[in-house]
Structures are given as C-alpha cells and as structure tokens.
C-alpha cells in the first residue's frame, strides 16, 4: 500500500509539470504585450521596458519558465500587479474559504446523494424512485448561478418567505452559520443529483449480482444485504464521482462566490481576470489544478482501499 501511494505520488509529478507549463504559457497566449498591459496604455516606452526587464520578459521563454518554477518551489508566486502584495499571500487569505465551501458542499452532496440513490435503487420503479429521479434531474439541470439567485430571492430578501437567510457572507465562517447554508446548497445541489443518479445505477447493477443472492442464501437480512454486501461494492464507482465533484466545486465555486459575495479563490480569480492581474490568475489556476490532481490521488487511494481487485501495477 505504501509502495502504491509512493508510486502514485511520483506519477503526479509529470502532470504537475505539464500543468505548470500550461499556466506559465497563459502569459504568452493572451494577445498583447504583458509588460505593456501591466504598465497601461499611456505608459512611456521606457517604463514598459523597465517592467519587461524587471519581470525578466527579455529572457528566452524556457529560461523564464525555469526561473518561474524555481520561484514556485520556494513558495514565491510573484506579486500581484494591482496590490503589489505577494500572490501567495493573496491566495492564502482566500484558499481556505473556497476549500471550506467546497468541503461542506461535498458533504451535503454525498449525504443527500447517497441516501436518495439508495432509496431509489431499493424501491426502484415505485413512486419514491420516480420522485427522487425527477428531483435529481432538476438538480442536475439547473445552472447554479440561477439556482443561487433563486435561493436569495426565496429565502434571503423576504419576497416569498421570511428573510431567514443572509444574502451574502460578510463576516468569516462560523460567525454566523446561516451564512453558510445558501452558498453550500447552491454549490452542492448539482453534485447531490449526480451522486444520487450514480448511486442508484450502481446499486441496481450490484443487487442483481450473484453474490447478493449468495448473501440472501446465507440467511442475511435485507438490511445487511443492502448496506453491507451491496453498498460496499456499489460505492466503488461513486467514489470517483465524489472526488471529481469536489475538484469541480473548487473550480466551480467561482459563480457561487460571486453571487454570494464570498471572498474565495473563485472571486479572486474573476477579479484578477477583470483587472488583468496575470500573476494572480496564474497563481489561482495553478493552485486549483494542483488541488484537483491531489484530490484525484486521494480518489485512487480510496478506490484501492475499497476494491481489492485493483492491482498495484
């Protein structure tokens, strides 16, 4: 197992290098001269040249990349153009906000998705199954920026329901738990729907397997058959979806953070794109990509723990 984890860790290195090259190239893929953009339209050629020199833009790109990478390894992601503060500090301040939001959203999605999926599978073709699947279809189809706005409309500004919920998250998490609810529901609903559908499909496939009949032939009760024998097998494909969802939440929190005015990484990225603050964009994209790779690694490991058949090689 340790060997497996080490091998998987080593395998992520080429992926991370590839990601960093892509992120680095962002600077060059965007039309226009980065130095000119940083300096602004009205800047004198000397100023532009100074900035170019300062950023090392006169060096050949491979050399620039190596320098960029060596800085990253030392934890230096450059400085924000707008605020002048180190990008690492800017991200640090927002990082946990997004991770926390994604984490709660994942918990919600897993909790609701699993229960709904299991109920649907166990009572398949009954009205509860049909109802759950229709609701799941809605959950899946609603764009979350719209759903977020609707939630605000319904629960936060008192037009339909009393204004139970705050519209936005002004203070830090934990100061007011109510602030967490609407953003988490907005972000987690789509994931819950996907997990519910996945769990249902997976459970339906598993309960038709021979080993489920064997469990019944041993005299096991329906509860043991479903929750012990079937669920553990059915969870294997679901785990992948959960991991991908969590990774998706990290990147997809952009919209939710914007709607609820949450100072997370998503909003940081959007603001940086609007103000052409390239080092910040590079930094956030890099961090989110690394997180995604890491989450996938965790998925692989949990996969291996659940499914003994996956060979180490």
């Amino acid at each position: 197992m340790t060997k497996f984890i080490i091998r998987r860790l080593l395998q992520t290195i080429p992926v991370l290098i590839g990601v960093s090259i892509l992120v680095f190239s962002l600077m060059y893929l965007i039309p226009g001269d980065p130095a000119q953009m940083i300096a602004g339209e009205a800047a004198s050629p000397q100023t532009v040249e100074q900035i170019r020199e300062k950023l090392g833009l006169n060096e050949p790109p491979p050399k620039q990349y190596l320098k960029y990478m060596s800085n990253i390894i030392q934890g230096d992601l450059g400085n924000s153009i707008r605020s002048g503060r180190p990008v690492a500090d800017e991200i640090k301040a927002r990082f946990w906000v997004t991770v926390e939001l994604s984490f709660y959203a994942t918990i919600l999605a897993v909790f609701i998705g699993l229960i709904a999926g299991i109920v649907s599978a166990v009572k398949h073709y009954t009205w509860s199954d049909v109802t759950i699947m229709i609701v799941a279809l809605f959950g899946l189809s609603m764009p979350n920026f719209w759903f977020g706005l609707m939630l605000i409309q319904w629960f936060a500004i008192g037009s339909w329901m009393p204004d139970w919920m705050p519209q936005m998250r002004a203070s830090g998490w934990g100061d007011d738990w109510k602030q967490v609810i609407l953003p988490v529901v907005t972000l987690g609903t789509g994931g819950a729907a996907i997990i519910a559908r996945m769990t249902r499909a997976s459970m339906l496939e598993v309960v038709g397997q021979d080993y489920i009949r064997t469990a019944r032939a041993k005299g096991m009760g329906e509860r043991v058959v479903i929750y012990r024998h079937a669920l553990k097998n059915a969870l294997i494909p679901v785990i992948t979806v959960v991991g991908l969802e969590f990774g998706g939440f990290l990147g997809g929190a952009v919209l939710t953070e914007t709607i609820f005015a949450i100072n997370g990484m998503g909003r940081l990225t959007i603001d940086a794109i609007r103000t052409r603050d390239f080092p910040i964009v590079q930094g956030t994209v890099l961090i989110i990509s690394f997180l995604f790779v890491f989450v996938n690694l965790l998925v692989d490991i949990s996969y291996r723990l659940l499914n003994k058949r996956i060979d180490l090689n």
Binding site: T214, K218, N233
Partner: protein, 350 residues
C-alpha cells in the same frame, strides 16, 4: 412419512414480465428422503434452478410462488414468514451456485464471508467464527487454510472458490444442501474433485442433497433419485437404477440416447429434434408432444397427469395410461422396445 426430509407438491412459480405471466415452474412434485441425493435434470430453461430457488424463496423480485407446498420436515416452508425463512437459509438448508467466479462478494475476505453465517446462526463470536472458518476451509480441502482465510476471492481459482462456497454452505451443518449446477463452470478434472467432495461430506454429515444438473453423467455418479424436468414440469421421477435401466418418458429416453456411454456401442448419437418451447407459448396438451416421436392426437390435445406406480416412480406420459390404445415403440440406445402399459408396469419386448 418420517424419512422424507423434503416433499414438494405441485409447486407453481411464475414470473411477471411486461409480456405477461411466465409459468417457469408449473406443477412440480418430488420427494427427497433423508440422507439421500436427488438429481433434478433438464435442459436450460426447464425450470430446475427456479425450483431450487423456490425452495429457499430466493426468487428475483418479479418471481412469485403461486401454488403448491414445500414441506421440509413436515412443515410447509411457504407458510413461513420472511424472518423464519432467514433462519432456515444457510442454516438448515444451504445452497451453492453454478458460478463460483461471481458468487462470492469481491470486497470481503473468504473468512468474513464464511464467518458471517456462523455468527448469525450459531451466535459465535468473531474470533470463534474465524477459527471455525479455518476448520471449514480445511474440511473442503483448501491447502494452508489459515492463510487463505484472509484472502479475497480474486486471489483464488474457480475450483477454490467453489470449495469456499461449499465451506459457506456447510458452515452451520445444514440438513439439506441444494447444489445448483455446482460443476458446470469448472474444468472436468476439478468437476470430479468437487463432486467427490460433496459426496464425501454428505456421507460424513448425513446431509440430504439436491443436485441440479443438465449432465446425466453427474446424475449417474451422485444421485439416488432423479426428477427429470421438461418445460417447467417433472416428466419422470424415479430411483436412479430404474431411470437408467428402464427410462419411461420419451424425453428421458431422448436424453439417454443423446448421451455417449462406454458400455454400449452405438454408431451415432440421436439428438432430440426441435427446441424447448418458449414458456410464453406453451404447446397445448403434453409439452413434449411437438418433439416426441410417439406423440398422437391425444398427446397434442390433453396434458397427461403424473402417473404413479407402486414403487413410487412417476411418469407424465399418456403411453403408460389406460387411455393409450395399442402399442408404442421406443428406441433406447439402438435397442427397440415396445412400451405399453399403465401405471405400475411397462411391458418390454424386442
């Protein structure tokens, strides 16, 4: 009748599909005496597996037992509640299945899967159950059982997995074992080992066995009694010697004729012409009549009853009834015989 462990009477099991009711088992009766082995033989789709699953009520959700009685030690299992049935399954009656590769749960160790039923039915602790699991693995002939008990099914071969299935089935010393084609998916050499193992354990523990198979060779080797099934019905039930020496039903005779034998020389094997009828479109009259070489208008018009003779052997064929006029000629293994009579005896001549 104290000696009869299991007595199935007029069992009827149907499946409800989009296209309507499918009568998979339609009036099956047989007796399994204590300590004996009953073979249930038939082609694919004859209802033999459904009969077995009906005994333990392990049918798929669209299947339902619609009639008959399954008397186990004098009690009708069909009157049992779900909870009472769970006490029977894996405890008094165990079952092993055709597909050892998929019948074990891939995410639990061999030990966990054997222990599970011991813990449930015999109320042993986890530790005691594990010790018992190792004993059982040893009993079914698995080498280094203390190592195997911690392994997962994917680490075992098909033959080994079937041995594990047998160990699970034997875990609570069942009075009756249902083996649903236990050797069909295995290599011939392994087949013989598994059959030998089941037979050995049967004599050792005095179990009764229902051996479901399509292989008359397996029947000849292991069974004391045989029920031949065709299209959801028992067409012949008799002791093993009578069945092989004097098969009565034209279907049984057809099966015999399509089987190579080392003690009889024959130029070529006779297959049974035609196919098993679709259960949704059963022929009227005798279900074998479209394929039967001896069929008459009577056969095509009316379904024969199961006729019993004095030795307890049954046959579902008009030839042996009083309604049959004249003589019927059958060929058993290249040897022509005249079959005629009703109930108790068959007149044979050449």
């Amino acid at each position: 009748m104290e000696t009869d462990l299991l007595k199935v009477e007029d069992l009827r099991t149907s499946f409800y599909t989009d296209e309507g009711e499918v009568k998979a088992v339609d009036g099956v009766s047989f007796i399994l005496p204590k300590g004996k082995t009953l073979g249930i033989v038939g082609e694919s789709g004859s209802g033999k597996s459904i009969t077995a699953l009906s005994i333990l009520n392990l049918l798929a959700s669209n299947g339902k037992i619609v009639g008959g009685e399954i008397n186990f030690k004098g009690k009708n299992l069909l009157s049992f509640s779900d909870k009472e049935m769970r006490e029977i399954r894996g405890n008094a009656i165990s079952m092993i299945f055709q597909e050892p590769m998929t019948s074990l749960n891939p995410v639990f160790t061999v030990g966990q899967q054997i222990s599970e039923s011991i813990i449930k039915h015999q109320k042993l602790s986890k530790k005691e159950a594990n010790i018992r699991s190792i004993e059982l693995l040893k009993l079914v002939g698995i080498p280094s059982p203390d190592k195997r008990v911690k392994q997962y099914p994917y680490e075992l071969s098909g033959g080994m997995r079937q041995r594990v299935m047998i160990a699970i089935a034997l875990a609570c010393n069942p009075e009756m074992l249902i083996a649903d084609e236990p050797t069909t998916a295995l290599d011939v050499t392994i087949q013989a080992q598994i059959l030998g193992l089941i037979r050995g354990l049967q004599t050792r523990f005095g179990m009764s066995v229902i051996m479901i198979t399509h292989d008359l060779g397996v029947v000849a080797e292991t069974c004391d009694f045989v029920a031949v099934m065709y299209a959801g019905q028992v067409v012949e039930y008799s002791d093993i010697f009578t069945l092989f020496e004097e098969p009565k039903h034209p279907y049984t005779i057809g099966l015999m004729n399509s089987l190579p034998r080392h003690d009889v020389e024959i130029e070529k094997l006779e297959p049974i012409r035609g196919n098993v009828p679709n259960p949704k479109e059963m022929p009227t009259g005798c279900r074998f009549s479209p394929r039967c070489p001896a069929a008459t208008d009577l056969c095509r018009r009316e379904m024969p009853e199961l006729l019993k003779d004095d030795d307890g052997n049954d046959v579902r064929c008009w030839i042996y009834s009083e309604k049959w006029e004249g003589e019927a000629e059958v060929t058993v293994y290249g040897e022509k015989r005249i079959a005629k009579g009703h109930g108790s005896e068959t007149i044979l001549s050449d």
